[in-house]
Every structure is written in C-alpha cells, then in structure tokens.
Amino acid sequence: MIPLSWYLILGAILFAIGVASFLVKRNIITIFMSIELMLNAVNLTFVAFAAQWHQVSGQVFVFFVMVVAAAEAAVGLAIILAVFRSRETLNVDQVNLLKL
C-alpha cells in the first residue's frame, strides 16, 4: 500500500505547479486550467485522507468541489468567450479596464 505521505507530496507538487502557472501565465485559458489543477490537487489530498482514515466525508467534499468546479468552468468559459468577443485577445495584461 502506498503511504499517505506520497499522495500528500504529489498533491502539494500539483498545487504548487497550479499556483506557479496561475501567476506566470498570461493566457486566460491557461490560468483557468491552472485553477482546475489546484482544485484537483486539493481533491487528491481529500480522497487520500478519506482512504487513510476510512471516512466518507472527504469523498463527499470532493464531489462538492467537482460540482462547483463544473459550474465555475461553465461560467468562467462563458466570461472568457465574452471577453474574447469584445477585446479580441486572451492576454490578461490587456484586460485591465478596472485600473484607476
């Protein structure tokens, strides 16, 4: 049986990759994907703990996160489409109208 720590390390690595690409990337879609990556890194730790302690609540949480992520994906992609239609770009550095 694979020890718990491996799962946790993998989750941490995945999360770090997500954060890094979230900060570094300029393309909205990539940023969006890195958010998904972070979510799933968290999901991984949840299910790992759930398996370790034989408790179902961690898995239930994962379902919630997935549902929310799906909804977020739908809304987020719609926003991205709208932004692209009006700005003709997906570069976040050029989407800065909120600036003073």
């Binding site: 900060l23 976040v92 989407v95 800065n96 109208l97 909120l98 600036k99 003073l100």
Partner: protein
C-alpha cells in the same frame, strides 16, 4: 368627575384641519370655486357644531362644569402624565363662539378678497390650519396642549404674514412675528416647567385646585415667578410691551389675515391664557399688578403712536395693541370677565374695522395711505356705513358694544379695592380719548372731504409700478399675474368700486354684532344685569359676588360698597366721563380733519420732535436693532459662523475627508486592475496565512 355627556369636542378643531389638509395637499389642482367651497365648508361645519355644543353646554348642571373630555393619554413618563383632552367651561365656550363665528365670517370675506390673488389654495389651507390650532388652544384641557395650539397659531401667523413671500418686507415681517413670539414662548415654557416641578401636572383642574390650597403670596415667590413668566408669554402672543413690535409689521399679510389673526382671535390668546390662569394670578398679587401696569402702559403707548400713522392698516394695528392693553389692564385689576367681555366686543368691531379697511383698500386698488383717500362716503356706501358702526363702537359711543365693555373695564379699574387704582382709570380714560381721536381721524380722512388723489396718479395706468411698495402690500403678487384691481381700470381716478357681496355680507353681519353684543353686559348702574359677568362668574371666582362660595380662591375682599347707591352714581359719572372724552375725540378729529385740514400739518411742524417720535414709533424698532438684534447677528456672524462653524465643525469634517483621501491615495496603488497582480496578492495572502498557521503549529 360625575358622568357627563360626550360632545366629541375633538371634532371642532379637527374639521378645519381636514379642510386645510385637503386644500394644502391637492388644492393646487382644484378650480378656485372648489377650493373656496372646501375652505368654507369645514370652518362652517365647525361653527355649526360649536353652536350645537354650546346649546348642549347650556343644559349642563353647574356641577358638570368644567366639562372635561379626555381622549387618550398623550405623554406618560415616570408619574408625569398629560392626556389629549378638551376642557369646556364658560370661558372656552365664549372663545369658541368668537373664534368659529368670526373666523367663519372672515373666511367668507376672504373668498371675495383673495379672488384675484395667486396662491389661492395655499392661503385657505393656512387659514384653516390657523383655525385648527386656535381651537386646540382654547379647548385644550392642559397647559401643554394649549402650548401646542399656541405654537401652531404662531406658525400659521408666520405663514400668513409672509404670504406674499416674494416681497422682502413681508418675509421680514413674518420672521419678526415668529421670532418675537418665540421670545415670549420661552417665558411660557419656563412657566410650565415650574408648574410641573411644583405640582407635577399641567392639567387645568389639578393645577388650579393645587394653587387654591396655597396661601396668597405677598412677596415674590414661586407662584409670582410662574405667573410673571406666563405673562411674558402672553405679552409675546398678545403684543404687549415689550414684545408688541411684531404686530404692526404683521400688517404685511393680506387684510383678512390681519382681521382674523392679528385683531380678532390669535392676539387674544394671551388674554385668554391669563384669564384661564386666574387662580394662579389671584394668588400672586404682584404679578397681577405687573399685568395691569403692562396693560395700561401698552394701551396708552400704542394709542399715542396710532395718532399719527398714515397707513390705514397701521392705525388699526396700533389700535389693536392698545385695545389688547385695555384687556390686560382689566385682567390686572382682577376684572377677568370685563377683560373677556372686551375681548368679545373687540373681536367684533376690530374684525369689522379691518375687513372694512380691506374693502376700502380693495376698492382703491391697493391704496393704503389715508392721505390719498377721502370722500369715499358716497362711492362705497356699504363699506362706509359698516365702518361707521365699528368706529363708533371702538370709540365707545353708547349704546354700541365698545361703550359697555370699555366702561366696565374703566369702572373696575377705578373701583376694585385690592387691585384697582385711579391711576389705571386715568390712563384708560386718556387712552379712550386718544382712541376716539385716531379712529375718527381715520374715518374722516377716508370717507369725508375731497378725494386726495395719489401724487403718482399720472403714472398709474402704466401699471402703478411707481407707487411705494408699502402701498401695494395687499396686491403684491406672487405669480406675477397682476390683479385687475391692482392695476387695471380700477387703479386710478374715479374708478373706486364697492366690493362684491361676498365681502359686504360679513361686514353687515359683523356690524350688527358690533352694535349689539354690548347688550350682553349692560352694567347694573345702567339698568342692566350684566349677564355676561354672571355667565362668566363660575370661572372667575372673585370677580363677581354671586359666585362667592366657601371654597373659592378669592384673594380679594368683597367689593360691595357700604353704600350701593353712591357707588352706582359714581359709576354713572365715570361712564359720562368716558362718553365725554369720546365725544371730544370726535370733535377734535372733526375740527382737524374736516374743518381745518391744514392745521394738523402746522401743528406737526410746530412740535416736530414729538411728531417725529410718534411717527417713528418711539424708535423702539431701532432701539431693538441696536441693543438686541445687531449684537446677535454680529455675534453669530463672527463667533458662531466664522469661528465655530468654519473653524471647528467644518475643520473636523474637512480634516476627516482629507486624511482618508491621503490614505487611499497610497492604498489605491494595490488596485492596479491587472488580473495577474491580483493573483499575486492572493498568493501572497495565502502564503501568509499558511505561514502563520505553521508558525502557530510550531509554537504548540
């Protein structure tokens, strides 16, 4: 209280309030005819209802008077309690009839008088509002509710004096009236606080019975202080020295307002209040003496100013002040019912005088200067005849009403052993002569001789713009639509016209009243039985012998002379003296203004100083400006405005604003609008949180 019928007294004040609300809220969209109908219907209904109440009142048993109706508790706090309730006794019944009856007549008149003016609905809304407050004032069963009406009539008066608010002088006069009244109200208020402090209640019945338990104060004590403060309030409302200055200026309002508020009803509120508090005043003889002195001084002081005024309404205004002084003098010599009797007769003839003067002004297209009148007798006969009745009544010619009431006061002033004095009689007597003189001066100048056209007559067709603004007071327009009367064909020359019937009707009714109400109080010396005095007797326990009973609060010794016959002949002699001085006033006025019209100017030139002093009203206004108003205005400007407002309050507010602006200038840099920088902040924040938790974990 024993069970007594419910009259629903609250309806009487509320009816005009409904009229006021309808006209005030939606009257703007109504046609004039409908506004006038509403404005007349509600006070008319109040009058009719008041008549019914009075007829019911007459059948009440003596033990059921005063009749008190409590509606609901209004204020309850820690043992102190004021009900919203009404109080009906002989005094309030009398006032009720005067206010609703004369008020209703003046409403009718106003419909005709204001027909050409802008702001029609507004005017009648205010007028009805005034009725509401005045009725609240007289029907209230506690000082506090009276104070509500008291302040309310002040408000209505302010609104109506400043009715032509585009005119600077009218707006100023409104403010002056309101602020002067406020000064007096302050006294009233403190007086009420004292009552609460000592008796814990403001209900009339409780206060009076509590006062009755106390001994008569021979030196200045709590009762005297309270009574004096009350009198100060009354002096403000009833235009007595030193607070009379607002009343003459109040003539800036439309004439029906002058008649209703500034002659017949509101200004008598002070008289009513002092008469209502007679128990209090009788226990404070010093305060009573002060009332008499103030009244006597005001009477003669205002009459002397009235001698030389040229504006027809101003003469009447000073005459009102003077007559109010008479009433206070009567109260001050503990002749309460005589004071109220004069209040009633005065309400009739003074309302009539004002309305007739308004009719003259109306007929002349806004002319108010008596020097430009004359010879109107034939041109406006109805006005002339009604005005004649009123003039003879106020001058005190028997058998018109003014004779009986004025004589009653003079007799009481002379004869009351405790409170009276021959000095008061003498002042009253001289004032009566002056009253007669200036009233007949007005009468002769207006109706007799040749018509003295205004100097500006040749300009008149151009719109009358050259007339001094004071002469236009009544027709100064809000809407800019100049009235036909003010400037059209009537404005000049022979175009004098009689007023419409809707204005003359009330004049005739009032004239009949002014001629006849005096018979209510024919003194015994003249073969009458003074029914008014007997009617009032239960309210004023000491002023009439039949009402004397064991428990009354009388401060005075019985005044019955040992020799009634001698007293009667003395009373007759005094009456003859008043008639004589009234006649001589008439004679003098006739001599000066009909026989030798050039004489007054010559005399005025000879005693220039005196004349100018009188014409300028003893420079009292100027003195008030120099001593009170200007210091307050300057102090407010330099200290309160520039110092405290700008220097402290504004500085604090601006300081808060500047500080937060500076701070946000720094913090707004975080809001770059760039998504990636936000993401960075989020990451930093998350890192901080994680770091903090790790640190906490390590500590444990």
């Amino acid at each position: 209280m024993n069970p007594s019928p419910n009259f629903n007294l609250w309806l009487i004040p509320v009816l005009p309030l409904i009229g006021s609300a309808i006209n005030g809220l939606v009257g703007k969209r109504f046609p004039r005819r409908l506004v006038a109908t509403i404005a007349l219907a509600f006070p008319g209904a109040a009058f009719a209802y008041a008549l019914w109440v009075v007829s019911q009142f007459a059948s009440l048993a003596q033990a059921q008077i005063p009749h008190i109706e409590r509606l609901f508790p209004w204020i309850e706090a820690n043992g102190f309690r004021v009900d919203y309730g009404f109080y009906l006794d002989q005094l309030s019944v009398t006032m009720l009839l005067v206010v609703t009856g004369i008020g209703f007549l003046i409403h009718i008149y106003a419909v005709g008088y204001m027909a050409e003016e802008g702001g029609y609905y507004r005017f009648f809304s205010y007028l009805n509002l005034f009725m509401f407050f005045m009725l609240t004032l007289i029907l209230a069963h506690s000082y506090l509710l009276m104070f509500v009406g008291w302040e309310g009539v002040g408000l209505a008066s302010y609104l109506l004096i400043g009715f032509f608010f585009l005119k600077q002088s009218a707006a100023q006069a409104g403010k002056k009236a309101f602020i002067t009244n406020r000064v007096g109200d302050f006294g009233f208020l403190i007086g009420m606080f004292l009552l609460i402090k000592h008796f814990g209640t403001l209900d009339y019945d409780k206060v009076f019975s509590a006062v009755a338990q106390l001994p008569v104060e021979t030196s200045v004590g709590f009762l005297t202080a309270t009574a004096l403060l009350m009198m100060f309030g009354a002096a403000g409302k009833s235009a007595q020295i030193p607070l009379y200055v607002w009343l003459p200026d109040a003539m800036e309002g439309p004439t029906p307002v002058s008649a209703l508020i500034h002659a017949a009803t509101m200004v008598t509120a002070g008289v009513y209040m002092v008469a209502r508090s007679n128990a209090l005043f009788l226990h404070a003889p010093i305060a009573l003496r002060v009332v008499a002195i103030i009244g006597a001084l005001t009477a003669i002081f205002a009459a002397s100013i009235g001698l030389v005024q040229n504006d027809i309404k101003r003469v009447l205004a000073y005459s009102t002040v003077s007559q109010l002084g008479y009433m206070f003098m009567a109260l001050g010599v503990a002749a309460f019912s005589a004071g109220i009797f004069h209040l009633v007769t005065h309400a009739f003839f003074k309302a009539l005088l004002f309305l007739a003067a308004g009719s003259v002004i109306h007929g002349l297209g806004g002319e108010q200067d008596m020097r430009h009148m004359g010879g109107l007798r034939k041109l406006i006969p109805w006005t002339f005849w009604t005005m004649t009745v009123a003039t003879f009544a106020i001058a005190g010619f028997p058998p018109l009403s003014g004779f009986f009431s004025k004589d009653e006061i003079l007799w009481k002033a002379f004869s009351d052993r405790t409170h009276g004095s021959w000095v008061f009689w003498l002042i009253g007597w001289i004032t009566a002569g002056m009253t007669s003189f200036y009233m007949f001066r007005l009468w002769f100048m207006t109706f007799f001789g040749e018509r003295r056209a205004p100097v500006h007559e040749e300009h008149e067709p151009a719109g009358g713009a050259h007339l001094p603004s004071s002469a236009r007071a009544d027709h100064g327009h809000q809407s800019g639509v100049q009235s036909a009367h003010g400037h059209g064909d009537h404005g000049h020359g022979g175009g004098v016209h009689e007023s419409p019937w809707i204005m003359l009707g009330p004049l005739v009714v009032l004239a009949i009243g002014a001629a006849l109400v005096g018979f209510l109080g024919v003194p015994e010396a003249l073969g009458g039985s003074n029914r008014f005095d007997q009617f009032m007797a239960p309210v004023f326990h000491s002023s009439s012998e039949p009402a004397r009973s064991a428990e009354n609060f009388a401060a005075t010794e019985p005044q019955k002379s040992e020799n009634p016959e001698e007293e009667k002949s003395l009373e007759l002699e005094l009456a003859a003296a008043s008639v004589a001085i009234a006649l001589s006033g008439f004679g003098l006025a006739y001599f000066f203004y009909v026989r030798r019209p050039e004489l007054p100017d010559r005399i005025a030139n000879n005693v220039r100083g005196v004349y100018r002093t009188l014409l300028n009203k003893y420079w009292v206004d100027e003195a008030y400006y120099a001593t009170v108003i200007n210091p307050i205005v300057d102090g407010s400007r330099s200290v309160l405005w520039r110092g405290i407002d700008v220097g402290v309050i504004d500085a604090i507010v601006n300081g808060v604003g500047t500080t937060s602006k500076g701070l946000s200038g720094v913090t707004r840099r975080m809001q770059s609008g760039s998504i990636r920088s936000y993401a960075g902040w989020v990451a930093i924040g998350a890192a901080c949180v994680v770091g903090f938790m790790i640190w906490m974990g390590l500590r444990i």
